[in-house]
């Protein structure tokens, strides 16, 4: 029922953004299936012990999708759902980008291009100590223009970190337009492969494929894995999908009501199909 879970969380995200009157709507909706696959299937974590040394690490390098992460962390039990209502308030611990004040958050992110280097450090320590935890880093596609991503990419393969998994939420849009128009990324998979990563290409909005990719890591012994997740920005709400303007737009009352209706319909179908 993970697909239904993702749809429910899309409702949570839109409610959060609507209530706070701000947020990164499009990127949250494109990446939520990946987060659900991670938090409710792949990650070896216990919300009751968020600092357990043996836990898998997850770094949300695309910190702009904080609203999605907060909704998932609450659903997973890292903090009460009530805390979500504080999002966007002056006295809240939930900032527009994740901070260390939020239970379950491993690194403050949102200044793009930082997460993968940190992930390399976490994975490197595990290798040296013989620890079994794995490290996952979710990046945006616009973020791929940051040179620091590629410095870390080099280091990840140089040190043979097959306990490190990079995931790119490849929705093809960024704040000012199409990613390939702003700064061409294509062929992104070939580029990661050339940096020594084993690339796995999936539909990042297909829960079966997300789970399949996460279950198969490391895709190659001795190499870090890069899951290139093709997604649709704004996925799940017809009028938000693939619209550049919805990078950080807030739905009107009418749009919000329509989005909820669309998602409720999809949830009913998902439940019927038991996915």
């Amino acid at each position: 029922m993970l697909a239904a879970q993702s749809l429910e969380l899309r409702k949570d995200i839109l409610s959060l953004i609507k209530r706070a009157n701000g947020g990164h709507t499009g990127g949250c909706l494109s990446s939520i299936d990946i987060l659900v696959g991670l938090y409710f299937h792949a990650l070896r974590i216990d919300p009751a012990m968020p600092r357990d040394p043996g836990r898998d690490r997850f770094v949300m390098s695309k910190g702009h999708s904080a609203e999605g992460l907060y909704c998932v962390l609450a659903k997973a039990g890292f903090f009460p759902a009530l805390v979500l209502e504080q999002y966007g308030r002056f006295d809240s611990t939930l900032y527009g980008h994740p901070t260390m004040n939020v239970p379950g958050v491993e690194m403050p992110t949102g200044a793009l291009g930082h997460g993968l280097a940190v992930g390399v450090g976490m994975a490197l320590a595990a290798k040296r100590d013989g620890a079994s935890y794995r490290t996952f880093v979710l990046m945006g596609d616009g973020e791929q223009a940051e040179g620091s991503v590629w410095e870390a990419a080099m280091a990840g393969s140089h040190y043979g970190l097959d306990n490190l998994v990079g995931i790119v939420d490849y929705n093809g849009l960024q704040i000012s337009g199409k990613v390939d128009d702003v700064m061409r990324l294509s062929p992104l998979g070939d580029r990661w492969a050339a940096f020594g990563w084993k690339v796995v290409q999936i539909d990042g909005n297909d829960m079966g494929q997300v789970i399949g990719a996460l279950d198969s890591v490391p895709a190659k012994a001795g190499s870090p894995t890069l899951i290139l997740a093709r997604t649709i920005k704004g996925k799940g709400v017809s009028f938000i999908e693939n619209q550049v303007a919805w990078h950080h737009k807030v739905p009107t009352d009418e749009q919000y009501a329509q989005a909820m209706r669309e998602l409720d319909t999809a949830i009913a179908s998902a439940r019927e199909a038991r996915v």
Partner: protein
Amino acid sequence: MEKREMRAVYAQTLIELAKTNEDIVILDADLMHANGAFAFAKAYPERSFNVGVAEANMVGVAAGLSSVGKIPFASTFGSFAGRRDYDQFFISANYARLNVKLVGTDPGVTAKYNGGTHMPFEDLALMRAIPKLVILEPSDPVSLGKLIRKSASYYGCVYLRMQRSPASVLYPESEEFEFGRAKVLREGSDAVLFALGSVMVNESLAAAETLATEGIRAAVVDMVSLKPLDVETVVAQAGKTGRVVTCENGQASGGLSSAVAEAILESGVRAGFARIGVKDEFGEVGTVEYLMERYALRAQDIAAAVRSLA
């Protein structure tokens, strides 16, 4: 006066610490042979990471290592420590409340023939703007060794500004050092020289000697720690002498001079004030001696600054 190579002290101290603390690791951006870290890498290859010429990545990786309990010492030239990895150090290390020790070597004019691209005049000002960061510039081999040990046992980020060439021994081996605690090396009632780092502390001591022959008794204070600043000592010395000269091997704005001026102005104490340091200029190529003359950092420049406050 006995001199010891600072980079050897750096490596030896970490090697000693690593014997009993398995969490100590070092990172470097391909300058291990220059800054002495190579000796550590030979002793503990499995705890040494040369990440290549990628300073930003070095600090990001150090943050990741720190987040799982390691105590990383990451070293590179001070110019790169300040400029190349500032965002990573700011966010992934400091804002994340992690435990990364960043070591910037070749401070100010000690970058010599590497010239303006490699001459860190700005690192202290940059680092001072990072909340909670501890900033140290030891003046001699004894204080360097002691402060590395303090840094290793302290949980939090540290920026250690370190000359790698030999420096005169100023302290007995038994001397103890604390963050935010300056050392009064010479008492005086007519002026006070607040100095940071080996080059400027030694020049200040020489300047005080010269001034003494003229009947001007200048106190010399080794600041040791730029942040936290020893406000108590600064204010007491400023109040006692009424004439203050700050001496730093870098831009005379944003770093020591600014920190001292802020402390004195806020205290209500009124004192004459002059700055020794680089005055809004880029680095150049030359010997340390030439560059000290070029930027007016010599003992005679310090003495002249004291006289100008008379």
